[in-house]
């Protein structure tokens, strides 16, 4: 067992920084990734407010990999195929001020806004659509949030409060990532589908 001088997180000490949100997509085999390169090039020219977008990393050749990543300063956007589950992913890299709810909301908004922009881009032919029911949330920092039972217990109230809002009070399941070596995170699955617009509206 690795010696640790840093205590396990508690509900009060847990900082949910570097939040990643991945929105799973419908019919992933129908989504062509080639148009993402010119689309993301356009985004570099026309970024989201307050964000600096820098470059594109193309990993389409890697099985079950990060797909195409739009590298930013504050955060990366991508259409990610990790675990062969295609989704629109936002990876917050810079620290974000505020509460854990604020941080979850910021990352979710970023992912949803990106997803909406892709859904409406004609170059993707309307094939890229949010699944509507599945969202993965990860904390990309093993020191702040090791993938442990203690972190799960500490994060549970924040995740539940956020999921309640995200799915507008509908029933949902929450499953923790099982491989303790992987990032701490959960998969949220709602009992009924929502559109990107509905979820954006729900989180405010």
């Amino acid at each position: 067992m690795e010696k640790s001088n840093v205590p396990s997180p508690t509900q009060h000490s847990l900082q949910l920084q570097h939040v990643n949100v991945k929105l799973l997509l419908q019919h992933p085999s129908e989504v062509a990734l080639d148009p993402l390169i010119p689309i993301f090039l356009d985004w570099i020219q026309d970024p989201f407010p307050g964000e600096l977008l820098l470059d594109i990393a193309d990993y389409r050749h890697v099985p079950a990999g990060p797909g195409v990543v739009l590298i930013g300063h504050e955060g990366d956007y991508g259409v990610d195929n990790t675990d062969n589950r295609l989704g629109v992913r936002y990876n917050r890299k810079a620290a974000f001020e505020g509460s854990n709810q604020d941080r979850l909301k910021q990352a979710a908004r970023a992912a949803l806004t990106a997803c909406r922009r892709l859904e409406t881009d004609s170059r993707l032919g309307g094939k890229l659509r949010f699944h509507g029911q599945e969202v993965e949330i990860f904390i990309n920092d093993r020191l702040l949030a090791p993938n442990s039972d203690a972190t799960r217990v500490a994060a549970d109230p924040d995740f539940r409060a956020f999921a309640d809002k995200l799915f507008r009070g509908s029933e949902y399941s929450m499953t923790q990532e099982a491989d303790r070596r992987r990032l701490f995170g959960v998969t949220l699955k709602s009992s009924r589908p929502f559109s990107v617009e509905q979820v954006l509206e729900a989180i405010g």
Binding site: S4, L52, P63, P66, A95, R142
Partner: protein, 751 residues
């Protein structure tokens, strides 16, 4: 950038190898000092390069959008991490893997770091390193600490230093080797890391080991020092040694290494290398980077004169017990298997049989094979790294190595485990067949991330890989075994000179527009440690390169005489005939509205050279004295921090140490034979700089030197808050005087 950066030092306290923790603390301080504008940017560039922290494309603060060049508004504004290198620009972290050797936990660490600091991908290079891209400078100390805790260093991964010591990944298991070079390469890597005699090079220095002369795996011919295992019989006893080559290198003009000695004994391996390093540091070019590699020095001097100088230097080397400490263990070194050896499976799917044919290689030990995991473009995901770690634990004693073909091998796999191992790799997306074949294209980062990239080597490699993979098993067997290697520019990081079909990026104008091209390089030889370099034949637009491959391989398959190699076929064809076959592909598109030629593979922007920056491969030419004086200043800064936090004793000791370091920096201008003994440093300083008055200030005379002498006299006395404070002030004046002294003696007197 990571919120946890401040916490990793505490988390890993006591878990880092001795020396590395201090080394990383120093770098973290330098990062902080540079951020505050208290550390020279040129010096900072070299210090970060020597920790493997490299620049990336667009770090000069501008990016071409396909029409115009636009400025990038990085949040830290004008703050830089080197000349024309913006602070906030993402960079590349190179991670040294000596001999390519890794264990499962190290793979897992690499996975964590790829996820947390990079973009989820770890990249294996053509020199057995790993690279992570898009890393923020402020994350690098944490990243280094986590690597160090896993037994990995980034120290001297870039810059004008001894780079990763590479070695044949089949060492110890190859049936054709003279003996296992693994322990010798590790000993060299350890010995040269941070060695004082390797801190003042004008350019990098790359060593490589091979177990034999006939295969390619070590590529010794293209290294600054190449060592091939040989044995000879002495009085009825087989003794080990190294056929030693020097002065090889690729780059724009490739040089084949020259034979230095046909048999260097293991006892002489390290002292000889040290002597070579001293000659390179003393005599190598420092100002003109393009002629600063040791190959140019050897060319200018001639190998015989170079040998004389090395032998002279060797005689003067003070004995170092580390020269031979490793030898007993080296002679008995042997990896062991986890599972009993077995027999090759006779059954299996066609996919499995193909994979066995191309991705496994018999070991000299009966019943075992080496399995190659073919990584597309050298890339592997974090989750794949973890799966591979699991597989390595399940089937081997974690005998993992990276290769110069940008792959990973698992050694000591029992043949009877192959079906299960294949299943495990397949589940992780790691069972692509075609390792070491024409499909397994090697490439440097090119325009994807490299500041020097001219054309998209990775884009082209991906395209060729896709096209060839579709038909690879229908290709003639002679074609299947060819090697394709691609560099984004003439600097040869993709090793295009030693490929059957090599390509390097160039640009040409067509119809008034810049068009990405690749120069076609043919006739190189991968075997015999990269025994022959290919020659450029013709530059072809990037988009026509797949057709070049098709034409040449078809012609070879159809016109090959007996067992003629591709190299011999190319030689027989001749440049004129080859040009004829390809020249129509060099012309502009027939349809003038076809704009596809004006963009590169994987990048639809209209092609432009304006994203190119200044390369950092050569690092900044910063003298060892500059470095040592900067280190003295950093120590003085630490003394001030200690004093402010009430650690008086530490403050006094560190201030004294900073004076010693500055004095030693000056002494080293005149002699390299100086230890860390304070009495020796002060004595030599007095003799060489005080008694000669070289240190004397035009106004203050020898006053500042007296501070050092006084500090030495009082060094055993306990420090008080006042005495530590005075000593810090005196140390500052002494270091300033050392800078002035160095400036005076290094600036030629005007005529």
């Amino acid at each position: 950038m990571k919120v946890s950066n401040a916490m990793w030092a505490e988390k890993l306290a006591g878990q880092l190898p001795e020396g590395l923790d201090r080394e990383i603390d120093i770098f973290e301080t330098e990062v902080a000092l540079r951020k505050q504008g208290k550390f020279d940017e040129r010096l900072f560039a070299e210090t970060r390069l020597r920790r493997g922290v490299y620049g990336q494309r667009y770090d000069n603060g501008q990016r071409h959008n396909g029409k115009t060049v636009q400025q990038i508004a990085y949040p830290s504004g004008a703050l830089t991490k080197g000349p024309s290198t913006m602070w906030d620009a993402p960079g590349m972290q190179r991670i040294k893997i000596p001999g390519g050797g890794l264990d499962a936990a190290q793979l897992e660490t690499m996975a964590d770091l790829a996820e947390e600091y990079s973009d989820g991908i770890a990249h294996v290079t053509t020199r057995q390193d790993f690279q992570l891209h898009y890393v923020h400078i402020e994350d690098t100390p944490s990243l280094m600490r986590r690597l160090a805790a896993a037994g990995i260093t980034t120290r001297e991964a870039c810059g004008n230093s001894v780079r990763n010591v590479t070695a044949c990944p089949y060492a110890g298991v190859c049936p054709d080797e003279a003996f296992d070079v693994t322990p010798y390469s590790r000993a060299m890597s350890k010995f040269l890391l941070g060695h004082p005699d390797c801190q003042n090079f004008g350019r990098k220095f790359k060593p490589a080991f091979s177990g034999c002369s006939q295969h390619a795996c070590g590529l010794t011919s293209m290294h600054d020092i190449g060592l091939i295992a040989v044995t000879r019989n002495e009085n009825g006893k087989e003794t080990r040694g190294f056929e030693t080559y020097v002065g090889g290198g690729l780059g724009a003009v490739p040089y084949q290494a020259k034979l230095y000695d046909s048999f260097v004994s293991p006892e002489e391996l390290l002292p000889l290398t040290q002597a070579i390093a001293r000659v390179f540091a003393a005599r190598g070019e420092k100002k003109n980077r393009s002629r600063a590699r040791i190959k140019f020095l050897i060319q200018d001097l001639g190998i015989e004169k170079f040998k004389e100088l090395v032998q002279e230097e060797r005689k003067n080397l003070p004995h170092d017990p580390r020269w031979t400490e490793f030898m007993t263990e080296a002679e008995t070194f042997q990896e062991t298997p986890l599972r009993p050896g077995g027999k090759a499976p006779l059954l299996g799917t066609a996919d499995f049989q193909r994979w066995v044919r191309t991705n496994t290689r018999l070991q000299k030990q009966d019943g075992y094979v080496v399995v190659t995991i073919a990584l597309p473009l050298g890339d592997i995901t974090a989750n794949q790294l973890r799966s591979l770690a699991d597989t390595a634990r399940r089937f081997t004693r974690e005998t993992i190595r990276t290769t110069v073909e940008q792959n990973i091998v698992l050694r000591w796999v029992s043949q009877s485990d192959l079906p299960e191992l294949h299943k495990a790799l397949h589940a992780a997306g790691l069972a692509d067949p075609g390792a070491g074949t024409i499909v397994d294209v090697a490439t440097c980062p090119g325009t994807d991330t490299c500041k020097l990239g001219i054309s998209s080597s990775r884009g082209l490699a991906g395209e060729l890989r896709n096209r060839l993979a579709e038909k690879s098993f229908q290709l003639d067997e002679s074609v299947q075994n060819l090697h394709i290697k691609i560099s984004g520019c003439f600097n040869s990081c993709g090793q295009h000179h030693v490929a059957d079909l090599g390509f390097y990026g160039v640009s040409r104008k067509m119809s008034g527009y810049a068009v990405p091209h690749f120069q076609v390089v043919l006739g190189g030889e991968w075997d015999h440690n990269g025994g022959t370099y290919g020659l450029p034949v013709i530059a072809i637009p990037s988009k026509n390169i797949p057709e070049v491959v098709t034409r040449l391989t078809d012609r070879y398959a159809a016109g090959r005489q007996h067992a003629e190699s591709f190299k011999d076929f190319i030689k027989r064809m001749g440049k004129v005939e080859l040009k004829k076959i390809l020249e129509d592909l060099a012309r502009p598109p027939a349809d003038p509205t076809d704009r596809s030629f004006f963009s590169d593979w994987g990048d639809p922007r209209e092609y432009s050279l304006s994203d190119m920056g200044i390369g950092e491969c050569a690092g900044e030419v910063v003298s060892a004295v500059d470095f040592d004086l900067a280190a003295a200043e950093r120590e003085l800064f630490e003394a001030q921090v200690a004093w402010e936090s009430g650690q008086v004793a530490q403050a006094g000791a560190t201030a004294y140490q900073s004076m010693l370091r500055a004095a030693k920096a000056l002494v080293k201008i005149e002699t390299q034979n100086i230890t860390d003994d304070p009495a020796q440093i002060v004595g030599e300083f007095r003799l060489r700089f005080y008694d000669t008055q070289k240190f004397f200030d035009p106004f203050a005379g020898g006053k500042f030197a007296q501070y050092l002498f006084a500090a030495q006299e009082k060094s055993s006395q306990p420090a008080t808050a006042d005495s530590a404070r005075y000593l810090i002030d005196e140390a500052q004046l002494f270091i300033d005087a050392a800078h002035s002294c160095y400036n005076r003696i290094s600036t030629p007197a005007s005529a």
